[in-house]
Symmetry: C2
Subunit: 218 residues, 2 copies
């Protein structure tokens, strides 16, 4: 449909020399997370990326198209970040899962518009009016949940085989805690709530996966 990737030069130039498309996608992550989709104008994006409007509409059919691409760009970045994270090295699936939670806590540093989730921000604003953006966010969020599923399933088989909930539902629960944490981080302009929420979440996982402990009748 559209050429995504112009031919690489035979010799990689020393400077990164990112093309306009990549620069626009990169700045859109920060800008949209900080101001929201509707409040981020095409001119804002062009100015931040140091490109012109002509370049913008050369690479993207519309502002909406950019948002879809930005959601995909964000997902790809997240996938790479988590794929490279150290927690995968643990032998025990529960340890890997708790490692994921700890890793999420560890990356709560820097500015809000850098560690919060573009997809959550984007979908809140656009779910009713921009179906394609909504769908792109849905794909990104779900695929992140899916990446957790193998570990959750393995942990469940080993530590809570009789639990009533599905591994998938727990995956979404984990992500929901994170998304909700970001909202409170924004409202309080501090990552503290997020950190405490992750401690509660960790505690829930430890309780659910506590080996063979019959629940007390209340």
């Amino acid at each position: 449909m559209r050429t995504r990737r112009p031919k690489k030069h035979a010799v990689e130039s020393a400077a990164p020399a990112k093309d306009a498309r990549t620069k626009l996608l990169d700045v859109s992550l920060t800008l949209i997370r900080a101001k929201g989709y509707a409040a981020t104008t095409v001119d804002d994006l062009c100015a931040a990326a140091g490109v012109t409007k002509g370049a913008f509409f050369h690479h993207f059919e519309s502002k909406e198209t950019l948002a879809v691409a930005a959601a995909e760009h964000f997902s790809a970045g997240a996938e790479a970040l988590f794929a490279a994270a150290p927690y995968h090295r643990a032998d025990d699936p529960l340890e890997r899962l708790l490692g994921y939670v700890d890793f999420r806590a560890a990356i709560l540093t820097g500015e809000l518009h850098d560690y919060t989730c573009l997809l959550g921000t984007l979908v809140q604003e656009t779910y009713a009016s921009h179906p394609q953006i909504r769908a792109a966010c849905e794909r990104g969020l779900s695929s992140h949940v899916e990446a957790l599923l193998p570990d959750i399933e393995a942990a469940k088989r080993r530590y809570a085989p009789k639990a009533a909930w599905s591994a998938e539902s727990l995956g979404y629960f984990i992500q929901s805690v994170l998304q909700g944490s970001f909202i409170f981080s924004k409202s309080k302009q501090s990552a503290q709530v997020a950190r405490r929420n992750l401690a509660h979440l960790r505690s829930y996982l430890e309780l659910q996966f506590a080996p063979a402990k019959p629940r007390a009748a209340r």
Copy 2:
């Protein structure tokens, strides 16, 4: 500063005959939740409320002022809704808390833009660029958490006096699960994730408040 409340008529008219200010606030709840703050125009609000722009700017200094008032309006409505809910009647504080969670699940009906939270939507978009709106959302969210605190504290004293977490942190955790649930509800256009999340949340509360059950060493 501004007259909030015109004198009530001596005789309440049969028809509600809401004034322009109230009508604008009412429609803003739905509209902003559906389209977001930036994408909701003053004209949209006026059209939906059946009033003119003159009326709008008679009652609100600016669009931002309306958003602040809408956040307060939403909080007031929520406070009334939860104050009147049946779960307060239980004798046991834990039962009241679980009753709150069940009540939150029970009101997940109808359209997304009716049961989701205006404050969460609003603060996501505006936290960086509209300090006053952010602050209004923060107040509303925190005061809702505070309304839960007495029950959480009482339940903690009775069932988990030695727990490491604070009642407040659990209150924010509960709200974060809800906010995150709304994001996923929007992304999937279904309340199913929200319902399953609330089941997990309920399960967490039951586990944390399980009477005197020493945690198994993992």
